[in-house]
Symmetry: D2
Subunit: 338 residues, 4 copies
């Protein structure tokens, strides 16, 4: 078998996750190069994983004709431009979320990808989570009947730094965007969004123009109802749950925990808190999404999570922001699309 | 000890529940009389439980000077009038929910009770449920810290008859009203309501002018956020859960089930569905609320669940109806109060 | 309907439990008299529950020709003699466990009951526990296939007083006897017993000639295997579980708890300890066994839990004692039967 | 850092597991060679993982002076001889369980290892299981108080082939041996064993001279009690649980499952069966034990799981066999040791 030759643009935390997945778990792919504007970072990862080439400038990767596919793991503001360049260079693309925080730039990516005829998969890894994927499977198998209510709980163990909050695009584009994608993954297209939002974790988040606790009510085009509740801080850790209620049954995913041990004494029965944060909870899903991407490239299958999914998650985030700003339900059709 | 002498107005299902609680579990009270417009019903319950007197006309109960307290368990449309008469007769009052479907009539009850100086407790029995009461206790003990999100799931095993739906006042006044009270019990006063509602269980419910699936987003005056999701039918039965998320921790109440047995075979591990319906799930709470009412009367304590609580639950229901009708968030202050 | 007329011999804790069951929950039966050698006790229960007659001498009950059935709730050493007298008097008998601590006296009861043609039910209430009864039902329905392993965990929240330990007959006759009955209820007749026993809770129990921690390995005649583990003290309370493993599946009963609430914070997720002790855990089962007894008397059905069950549980206890004393597996056939 | 150079003897299932752990997860070690009597197997693994050398004859590995440590993953009957040779060659040794099925040969290994002064770790990987290791940690932290009862459930999803059964040494040496090690890991040294055993899964197992369902009662030297229940087939899969009861509390490990999803409909609430078999359930533990072995070699620490642990687990298995054969409790002191 000819191996797919892959380059990684961005050697930070998520770039390393993907680099390890390919090195250790995906024999059909081979890492050829890694780049990072912080060249030492790229060098270090290359050394650790035996990647033959490392660069400061990602163009070196795009210019290498032996490379079939690139993983865009650089900072968010660079995603769209690099994706357009990579498409122009004929590379298949795996792009980390979010593609961009503006609809306009995502449009450009869509055009570039269409024109080049390359594949693009967005890194919505939660679709590959063992629990959520199983619920999707129950839905696909008709076990749930027609969907009526989709409930997503998504709380972080700690808020990000205020510096990050200021450039994050706000909770709806930064954090809820994953939940919006999950809502669409399960419930299909959304018709309308209404968001309640408040500052209860840290006043500094409010001063930075953002909120830290939110509830988003959704109406799906199917007529079903959805709700997402978010918080930037849960004292007990990373709370990631999904409940799907349909005419035939309900499926709910509990949190994953480090162990299944119950300790009981005079204070009650104690079990573990959730796994610490996204790297622990969703580790397997990162490998699984990459496996699927490589499979799509090798076997020329369409990717299941496309740039369009990135666009729609962004539009839902923008609708939620507008709902809070204007204090009313907002139709998704009010938000510019492609 | 002198026993409190009690009369029951209405010998239907809930009247019988209270009659049994007093007969079997509350030695401090004694049933003296029961009335029902269907006299045979009153007669039968009286015979079964050894109640000395039964009547067709509830006025006989109000006119009996030996009776200290009455339980109003008649049809909803009669609650307010009987409560006013009972107050005028100097009887302490336990009144089933809802007090009335109009604010105006509840006002009259408030006036009558104030003037007479009698006690009035509303039958919001879920406040006495072992699970929910324990969560309230955790909240009171400061275990949850400051409240951020209150989530209530409330689904019935089967929708009521279409005839009932037509006179019920709609899902928000008939079903969600209990959840509104629970929301206030846990989260305090509500500032604003936004409701999504749809017909997904039975088109006939829609034709009758009601909805069967709903999601209500709440803003509490404290700044906390709430959500109630309702459905008139869950394939797996009566789904009654509460989750309270605060700065220090989260408490969640799972459904009660007939047994704690897990059966595991090649199809997976199977545990029980929830207890069938409200009589099974909330049976103990009916006894406990009655025990508290009798205690309030005997020891001249203020009742904890007052007609004001009935009023506020009604106003939340009216706000939810208005939110659906006008498709916008509705401030509770827009709804006439007292 | 003619009500069954019942007399209770013994007005202590368990006598009161049965008195309340009949008064409040079994309309087909009527309490006519109660006796206790401590006459004030009988008087007080009679007053509380409206029982027309109370006596110091239980013979008054046996001599009352209007009484159909008696409940023997007196001290263990009196059970067998009273049962014989009651049978001779033509009364149907509900007898608390254990019937006696000797095989010889149980034989006399068997003879007396056979001769008189009256019914006798032993108070092995755990057979009526909602969890265990459901497992029995799964077994009867063939869901478990052929039984392979029966595992019973039975631990008390606190050891009894040393004075009680001294006259109790030892842990196997006093505590494990319930578990032996459960083992037979689920697994059928036992062929052989091997017991490990030790003193780990309180040296005083050892000094009194008893043990406080034990493990009993069983071989059933069917070829299946069983194990009972006991302890006189569990720090977290009353631990009563059953696991049945068969060729088609496994059923396990978890402990019942006061609430179904999970509280989660930085220390983990905490749920309730088991219900405090047997009165709380098995309360419903006491009512259910009495309902069945009354039904057997009224409708002339054979009782399901007979004096023979009492005898066999005793023999298993004696076999376990012998196994510890002689440090070897003991065939049940080595223990005198009837 | 100088990497430890490792050779693997045996390229079968477990050899591959360790090869992958070292390749992917243990940067401190480097695979230099792999051997297998089926040379193509060694070649294939070498190719897949980039191991520079593969051999048919393991002596090539022992003769390579650059190799620091060997992993003995060949068939059981070769373990002891190879271990002696490896010790003589000055290699540190990781040896799969069981070391041997005879005490005599294990003695030789002990002598050889002592003489050579090399490290030897036995592959009792379950000690590294996240659940069981956490219970051990609770024990070490004093959370359980003094141990009273250790209960191990260990059931396989399917029995091995009859051909395997015939050469396996019997259930106690082949399957229970892991549970005996777990019993010692948690409860310390064992004083006495009593075993019940029967054939309930497949008569052919009985005809092959073995049993398929067993219960082993243990007395620890501490005075605590233990029980192991085994079955060669559980309809619902691989059942691996541990419950440890002490004076201060109880810890219990439930099975790991593929997902945490509960699906509820009119048939009840269904959750996953356990993970399929030992490779799935204990995968992480294989990596963790290898990480510790490499750490012991690099940092010259004593291994925690020694050949003595292998010996004692074997002696417990032999005691259990003797107990069944002689139908009596057997002191461990009756079994020849070192």
């Amino acid at each position: 078998m000819e191996k797919i030759r892959v380059g990684i643009i961005g050697a930070g935390r998520i770039g390393q996750v993907h680099a390890k997945s390919i090195t250790y778990h995906i024999p059909q792919a081979q890492l050829v190069a890694i780049s990072d504007i912080y060249e030492e970072g790229a060098k270090s990862v290359a050394a650790q994983l035996g990647i033959p080439n490392y660069y400061k400038d990602y163009h070196k990767i795009l210019e290498d004709p032996s490379i079939d596919a690139v993983l865009i793991c650089s900072s968010t503001d660079t995603h769209a431009d690099i994706a357009c360049e990579a498409a122009a260079a004929g590379k298949h693309i795996f792009c980390e979320k979010p593609v961009d925080l503006t609809v306009a730039k995502i449009k450009k990516v869509i055009d570039a990808v269409d024109k080049a005829g390359v594949k693009l998969q967005i890194g919505f890894n939660r679709r590959y989570d063992h629990n959520f994927a199983y619920i999707k499977q129950l839905e696909n198998n008709g076990k749930l009947g027609s969907l009526q209510t989709v409930k997503i709980t998504s709380r972080d163990p700690e808020p990000p730094s205020i510096d990050y909050v200021k450039v994050s695009g706000g909770i709806f584009l930064d954090m809820t965007v994953h939940d919006f994608d999950m809502a669409r993954f399960i419930g299909g297209e959304v018709d309308e969004v209404y968001a309640n939002a408040t500052v209860m974790v840290d006043p500094a988040i409010g001063e930075a123009g953002d909120v830290d606790t939110a509830l988003v009510a959704l109406k799906f085009k199917s007529g079903a109802i959805g709700v997402i509740d978010n918080c930037r801080r849960a004292s007990y850790g990373y709370d990631q749950r999904l409940e799907v209620f349909g005419s035939k049954g309900q499926a709910s995913a509990a949190n994953d925990t480090p162990t299944n041990v119950a300790f009981i004494d005079e204070n009650g029965s104690v079990t573990d808190k959730p796994l610490y944060f996204f790297l622990e909870r969703y580790m397997q899903s990162f490998t699984d999404e990459m496996t699927e991407f490589i499979d799509c490239v090798i076997n020329d299958k369409p990717t299941k999570t496309t740039v369009y999914d990135g666009l729609e998650a962004l539009r839902l985030g923008l609708a939620a922001k507008k709902s809070v700003a204007e204090h009313r339900p907002v139709k998704l059709s009010e938000i510019e699309g492609c």
